[in-house]
């Protein structure tokens, strides 16, 4: 019983946070709600006895990605101050409509197919050693590839986001002036 209650609770929490992340007006709140949703998901993983994945999810998403998103929000704060900018694109209703259609499309098979209704088998013996062996034997190549990918992404992100010398030393680049400039840019 504990499992079911906790699952439904966590599910509700996660869905709520997700909806909030998508619906809130202020970006920072959205980012934090998203982080909460990710944490909720991590707990669901734990509830599914996938311990290592849960903690990894927690460490990566809540620890790193949330911070990244928040920093991105900070660095592009000119957006916030723009007066009267509507947050959602004009034709957001059609977007949500399609999303609902998509949901229906996904739900139908899940509910219809009988094979998915069965309960959970006995909890597998969780062991990090198994995961370690698996990683180091069958998945050693993907592991190396992911390592390379991460370094590349790291360098790429730094290079892209690095302030180019051209716009770096422009006099008008201090945050205050930047906000003023965005003001002008907006109504151009």
């Amino acid at each position: 019983m504990l499992n079911e209650i906790s699952f439904y609770l966590l599910a509700a929490l996660t869905v709520a946070c997700a909806v909030a992340a998508m619906a809130l007006r202020r970006l920072v709140h959205c980012a934090l709600c998203a982080a909460a949703a990710f944490a909720g998901l991590a707990l669901i993983y734990l509830q599914l006895d996938a311990e290592f994945v849960g903690f990894a999810q927690l460490l990566v998403y809540v620890g790193a990605i949330a911070i990244l998103i928040v920093f991105a929000v900070l660095l592009t704060r000119g957006e916030e101050a723009a007066p009267g900018g509507r947050q959602s694109s004009p034709s957001w209703i059609s977007g949500v409509g399609i999303a609902v259609l998509l949901l229906a499309g996904l739900l139908l098979p899940i509910l219809a197919s009988p094979s998915l209704q069965h309960g959970a088998p006995p909890a597998p013996v969780p062991s990090v050693k198994r995961i370690g062996e698996e990683l180091m034997t069958r998945y050693v190549l993907p592991l190396e590839m992911v390592g390379v990918l991460l370094t590349a992404a790291l360098l790429g992100a730094v290079v892209i986001a690095l302030r180019e010398p051209s716009d770096g030393n422009l006099p008008g680049n201090s945050p205050a002036q930047q906000r003023a400039k965005t003001g002008e840019a907006m109504n151009l």
């Binding site: 694109s89 399609i98 259609l101 998509l102 996904l106 139908l108 098979p109």
Partner: protein, 674 residues
């Protein structure tokens, strides 16, 4: 020197080289042009002498050297040159005469601007004539024949500014052309039948017995023997070139050219080419049991002799008289060939060449002296003013008329009359020959009286009095006069060297032959005829010569219609004009009409058609294809813009579409499977 034959081709080549080089010279290089021409001719003359002496000593009758001009797939066309007594004699005569006349023309043409061009054409003519003489193939002979025709055209029309000279050159060229066509036809026919055009080719040549028998055997549609038909055609060529009766009209007009030209070409060599051709082709013409062609030659020769002599009596231009006398003498040669064979004809040709060129050069110096005056009625009394010219001219005149014993004309004409008398077929040629001799003597005395005797006419008074020609002209006259006398002794009945030389035998001196009955009778008859003619002529014309001003010609007074007929040359020119030329113009008009109306019309129609087609094509292309294509492009562009509306760069639009697609896919999958 048996291998001299190898160098015989140099004889025509040197003058040809001189002509070529002369042609490139500038007009001012007079000395070089003259030197070239004379030098080349002198070298050729030396080579000819060497050849002549070699034929004398070496008893080989004939040497020939052939080479392949070009070879077609299955046949080869061969040319070649040969050396036999006939060629040697002609080489000697042509080169010697050309040399003398070149020297003479140095003086005669001195004041002419186109001096270099004159000598270039003269050496070109020399090359052609010499090539014709040594040719061992009818084709090479024909080529040189044409070259000679060309040079005669160029030389007759030398002073082309004068319209008369240009017309005369054209007339000469066209009439000889008519003869040449016949020669060409004969040549082709001969080639097709005998397989080769080489005369003597170790038994294979067309004039050798093997092919002759074939030709004689062959028959043509008229029932005539093939050899007779071919030889008639070839004789037609000779008639054209030597100015025999039907085609003689061009020779008198050819006097428009400078006198040395007339002397060399229209007296000695070129006109003699026709006779030489008949002599060369004699085996063919006389082939067969009773050669009809030979009789034709004889009759044509006889008729021409009397006909031309008659006309000569009524002419007033000094050169025209000599021209008609040349025609009649050529008639004599043809008759000689016809009745007496090659030796008789050729002997008269050689002697005639010397005294006729002498007469022409004499006339030239008279004209030169009288500052270009040619009408004999305006001349007179030049005996005192031009003594050298008178003396040499008189020698030439006596040789021509056949004054007995010392003058060459007598012996050669006598040989012909003798042969004519013995001619089995008919004795008419003999009587015509005698009449011709009488007429020749008569018009020559007329001319001499008018020109040299009597008081100097007022014409000379007008300009400076006539003066003797310079040495460079009189010396050649003297040389020729000597030869005119000596040449006769080669072929006298007593010592028939010429006849034996040609036949390759050895001449024996038998004085008694002179007094053999028929010979003696003949000699007396001819001297009698000449004597009567001189007396008649002196009586009629000497009186007139001394009057001044001279009235009309006594002959005209006594027989006006005959004189009028003779003066107008029996209206043959007018006859031709009326018939042949009219036909020709009719043909050209018809061709012109055909060309302008029919063909031009057709072309114009075709061009119109194509233009119309082009118009239709353009219209079709313009409206149909272009418009259609533009329409297509426009449609493409429109659909493109519609599609581009879809691609508006907004990422979310793409995501939506993607999502929609996934849903539809899922739904299809579910419904499809369920």
């Amino acid at each position: 020197m048996p291998h001299l034959i190898l160098f015989l081709w140099l004889v025509p080549s040197l003058p040809l080289l001189a002509a070529g080089w002369g042609a490139l010279l500038k007009r001012q290089r007079r000395r070089l042009a003259a030197g070239l021409a004379i030098g080349a001719m002198a070298l050729s003359w030396l080579l000819s002498c060497a050849a002549f002496f070699s034929t004398l000593r070496v008893r080989i009758l004939r040497q020939s050297c052939n080479f392949t001009w070009f070879d077609l797939a299955h046949t080869t066309v061969q040319l070649g040159w040969m050396l036999d007594p006939l060629t040697a004699i002609m080489l000697m005569m042509v080169t010697f005469l050309a040399l003398v006349i070149f020297i003479y023309s140095l003086g005669y043409m001195a004041r002419d601007q186109n001096f270099t061009r004159f000598f270039c054409f003269m050496s070109l003519f020399g090359a052609g004539m010499l090539g014709l003489v040594i040719a061992n193939s009818l084709l090479l002979l024909f080529i040189c024949w044409e070259l000679v025709g060309l040079s005669s055209y160029l030389l007759i029309g030398f002073w082309y500014e004068k319209p008369a000279a240009a017309a005369a050159a054209k007339k000469a060229f066209i009439t000889t052309r008519i003869g040449d066509i016949a020669l060409l036809l004969g040549m082709l026919w001969l080639y097709s039948r005998s397989g080769t055009l080489l005369f003597y080719n170790h038994g294979q040549g067309c004039l050798e017995q093997a092919s002759l028998d074939r030709l004689v055997a062959g028959a043509t549609m008229g029932g005539m023997a093939l050899s007779t038909a071919i030889s008639l055609l070839i004789f037609a060529g000779a008639v054209g070139k030597s100015g025999q009766v039907p085609l003689h009209v061009w020779l008198p007009d050819a006097m428009e050219g400078p006198t040395p030209v007339s002397a060399l070409i229209h007296a000695a060599t070129m006109v003699a080419a026709g006779v030489f051709l008949v002599a060369r082709m004699y085996p063919l013409i006389s082939a067969g049991p009773h050669p009809a062609a030979l009789q034709v030659v004889t009759w044509v020769g006889a008729v021409t002799a009397v006909f031309a002599a008659a006309i000569a009596m009524a002419q007033n231009d000094i050169k025209r008289i000599i021209a008609y006398s040349t025609i009649s003498q050529l008639g004599y040669m043809m008759m000689g060939l016809g009745v007496g064979g090659v030796a008789v004809g050729m002997f008269h040709l050689i002697t005639h060449a010397f005294f006729k060129s002498l007469l022409f050069l004499g006339a030239g110096s008279v004209i030169h002296g009288c500052h270009g005056e040619q009408d004999i009625r305006k001349m007179g009394g030049l005996k005192q003013l031009m003594p050298w010219t008178f003396a040499t001219y008189a020698a030439g005149m006596m040789a021509l008329c056949g004054v007995p014993l010392f003058f060459s004309g007598f012996w050669s004409k006598d040989a012909i009359l003798g042969a004519a008398r013995d001619w089995p077929f008919s004795s008419a040629p003999f009587y015509l020959g005698v009449a011709g001799a009488f007429l020749t003597a008569f018009y020559m005395t007329r001319q001499v009286c008018w020109v040299f005797f009597g008081k100097p006419a007022e014409a000379q008074g007008a300009q400076a009095p006539a003066h003797e020609s310079p040495a460079v002209m009189t010396i050649p006259l003297a040389i020729l006069a000597v030869f005119a006398v000596l040449a006769g002794f080669l072929g006298t009945p007593a010592w028939p060297w010429f006849d034996s030389y040609l036949n390759g035998a050895n001449a024996r001196f038998t004085f008694a032959a002179l007094f053999a009955r028929p010979q003696l009778l003949l000699l007396l008859l001819s001297t009698l005829v000449v004597g009567i003619a001189f007396a008649l002529g002196w009586r009629v014309y000497s009186r007139v010569a001394w009057q001044s001003p001279r009235e009309a010609d006594p002959l005209e007074k006594s027989l006006p219609p005959l004189f009028w007929l003779l003066q107008n040359k029996f209206f043959i020119d007018e006859l031709y004009a009326a018939t042949v030329i009219r036909l020709n113009t009719a043909f050209s008009l018809c061709a012109d009409w055909l060309d302008r109306v029919v063909w031009a019309g057709a072309v114009r129609a075709v061009s119109g058609l194509t233009r119309a087609l082009a118009q239709i094509n353009r219209a079709l292309d313009e409206s149909g294809i272009n418009a259609g294509f533009d329409l297509g492009c426009q449609g493409l562009r429109d659909t493109g813009s519609i599609l581009s509306w879809m691609q508006n760069g907004r990422i979310q639009r793409y995501l939506r579409v993607l999502g929609l697609a996934i849903c539809l896919g899922l739904l299809a999958l579910i419904w499809g499977s369920a």
